[in-house]
């Protein structure tokens, strides 16, 4: 087995986050809620956000759900990275993450933890696992206040 390739993909941080996620649960209060789903494998996450009063800054991000190590580590790392960011910054980070999955970008040093996901770019079929949480947070941020999400957001 080419373990070297696999170590690139399954960095220690990813495996640790998969084992011991730090951001499981539900924010209090729930200012935004969005379910994300990967229809080809059944992986599902439920994302909740807490925003400031002006609704232009993320105060907390939590998730529930089940999925592979890549999807679970990605959502857990994302939650850490988004805490304290303005919604505009968060949407930019979504774009940057998606570009990183194409091997076209990486995060600056203050967000370097997210760069452990870079190895996923070498495994094209797994990119959607890593992207699931970012797709979902984008949909959540684009929802107006008090609007119920239409359903789950699918990353296909």
């Amino acid at each position: 087995m080419s373990l070297d390739n696999l170590r690139d993909l399954y960095q220690q941080v990813i495996l640790e986050r998969y084992k011991k996620p730090r951001n499981r649960g539900k924010t209090d209060p729930v200012d935004r809620y969005q379910k994300g789903h990967n229809p080809s494998c059944g992986d599902t996450i439920e994302l909740t956000l807490q925003l400031n009063d002006a609704e232009d800054q993320i105060q907390d991000v939590k998730f529930e759900g089940e999925g592979c190590a890549i999807a679970m580590a990605s959502v857990d790392l994302m939650a850490d990275a988004l805490r304290g960011k303005t919604t505009a910054e968060a949407l930019e980070m979504v774009q940057k993450f998606q570009a990183m999955m194409k091997g076209e970008a990486e995060f600056p040093s203050e967000l370097r933890k997210l760069n452990v996901m870079q190895g996923v770019a070498q495994f094209p079929v797994r990119i959607k696992c890593a992207n699931l949480s970012w797709h979902t947070v984008k949909a959540a941020l684009e929802l107006a206040k008090d609007v119920q999400p239409a359903g789950f957001i699918s990353n296909e």
Binding site: M1, S2, L3, N5, L6, L9, Y10, Q12, L15, E16, Y18, K19, S40, C41, G42, D43, T44, E66, G67, C68, A69, I70, A71, F123, V125, R126, C129
Partner: protein, 420 residues
């Protein structure tokens, strides 16, 4: 050597499958995703090539030589399929794109004109989405009600529960012959007999049985049976519907177009006799001919021999899998001879998610399936979000099972290092 068949089957046929002789990530390919689709032997590839190089023309439409050759080959393949499943008449075999289309054909052509509000359709919880969604849609159109047969303790079709669901309201029973996830082999003969007692029609989804064992539609006495060519060594884009002659005659057409007509006027038409009534438009000619070649190939090996060899592989596979404590295996266990279930295993591997497992095995050249295998309700029913699945065919070897098991153990170790 207890493995009596291997020398005579896998070893004998591997040269027929060029695709198997390649490396993936520097390791010999071990293809264990046969329940999704099978690989194609040279005989089938040659049939496609030969048709396009020598005989290509539209069928049933010309008097020139190529058209007559194409028509003969296309209809000849129908005879082969009819013989293969022991249909009473070649007119009982309708070509479709795949099993899904065949089920939809029945759901529209028969379902729309025979079901009413309150009528009941019995399915099982293990159905593939292809044998579920067409009936959900039919139920929405007609007001019919779906009922689901549950599983026994060994995760097999619960015949007693089925009996309790049957009533005079039952108009249709549509069940899978061999489950693509649990691997159980359902008692279709009994199911048909019980359903007929109530005057209900029975459709059998034989996608996972026709490629692996002798299937006899007359012995089974089912009203319809469907299968996909691509799981039985034929190309994609071709499958078939078997239906009893009188029943197919009584059904209105499904799709309209050329080929399926007798006489056409501006305001109405009359339809061709079977099987053409259900084959609108230019069909998948090359694919149908290649399906005939696949049937010839399988028959030349012998379905009983294929089944016997696969049973030996099943026994070995389960013997190995059962020694890995982290695994949770779905479906019934095989007996000591590997009988009583199909040559596939869906499982979960402790903390290793099926998706991660599949990526890790792929690095070792091993192709398995990860996900819900188009049986999402079944996965929910047994409490698994997704599973990994290894599924075998007659060209797989005991050595390939060894490679798979070794890598599976390594993958579990790789993850349990973290979880340990």
């Amino acid at each position: 050597m207890t493995f009596t068949q291997e020398k005579t089957l896998a070893a004998q046929v591997r040269a027929d499958f060029p695709i198997l002789h390649q490396e993936i990530h520097g390791k010999p390919l071990v293809y264990l995703d046969n329940a999704a689709t099978s690989q194609k032997p040279v005989a089938v590839l040659n049939a496609l090539q030969h048709y396009y190089q020598h005989d290509n023309a539209n069928v049933h439409r010309g008097v020139h030589t190529l058209s007559s050759r194409a028509t003969d080959a296309y209809e000849g393949a129908r005879d082969k399929v009819a013989n293969f499943v022991n249909a009473a008449s070649r007119q009982e075999i309708i070509y479709t794109r795949n099993a899904s289309e065949a089920i939809n054909l029945v759901a529209y052509a028969w379902g729309n004109s025979n079901l009413q509000r309150g009528d009941e359709i019995i399915l099982s919880v293990m159905e593939h989405h292809s044998n579920l969604i067409p009936w959900q849609l039919l139920a929405q159109r007609t007001g019919a009600v779906l009922k689901f047969v549950e599983l026994t303790e060994t995760q097999e079709f619960d015949l007693e529960h089925f009996k309790s669901l049957l009533s005079d309201k039952t108009k249709l029973v549509s069940v899978v012959h061999v489950s693509n996830t649990l691997g159980c082999i359902n008692p279709v003969k009994e199911i048909v007999e019980l359903a007929h007692h109530y005057g209900a029609k029975v459709l059998i989804d034989a996608c996972q049985s026709v490629p692996h064992m002798t299937v006899d539609v007359q012995a089974m006495d089912c009203d319809w049976l469907v299968a996909s060519g691509h799981k039985m060594c034929a190309p994609t884009g071709i499958g078939f519907l078997y239906g009893k002659l009188d029943l197919l005659r009584s059904m209105p057409p499904f799709l309209g177009g050329g080929e399926m007509i007798a006489d056409v006027f501006f305001d109405h038409s009359t339809y061709a006799d079977l099987p053409h009534k259900f084959e609108a438009g230019t069909p998948a000619i090359a694919e149908a001919i290649a399906l005939g070649a696949a049937v010839d190939y399988l028959s030349s090996l012998g379905m009983d021999k294929i089944h016997a060899y696969e049973a030996e592989l099943t026994a070995y596979l389960f013997q190995q899998l059962q020694q890995i404590p982290e695994l949770m295996l779905y479906g019934p266990k095989p007996d000591s001879k590997g009988e009583g279930r199909a040559a596939l295993s869906a499982f979960t591997a402790g903390s290793v998610h099926p998706h991660d497992l599949s990526t890790i095995l792929d690095q070792a050249g091993i192709a398995i399936r990860a996900g819900h295998h188009c049986t999402q309700p079944l996965h929910r029913h047994v409490g698994a979000q997704s599973t990994a699945r290894a599924s075998l065919y007659f060209y797989n070897t005991r050595e390939e099972i060894d490679t798979f098991i070794t890598s599976l153990k390594e993958a579990i170790e790789f993850f349990s290092g973290i979880f340990g």
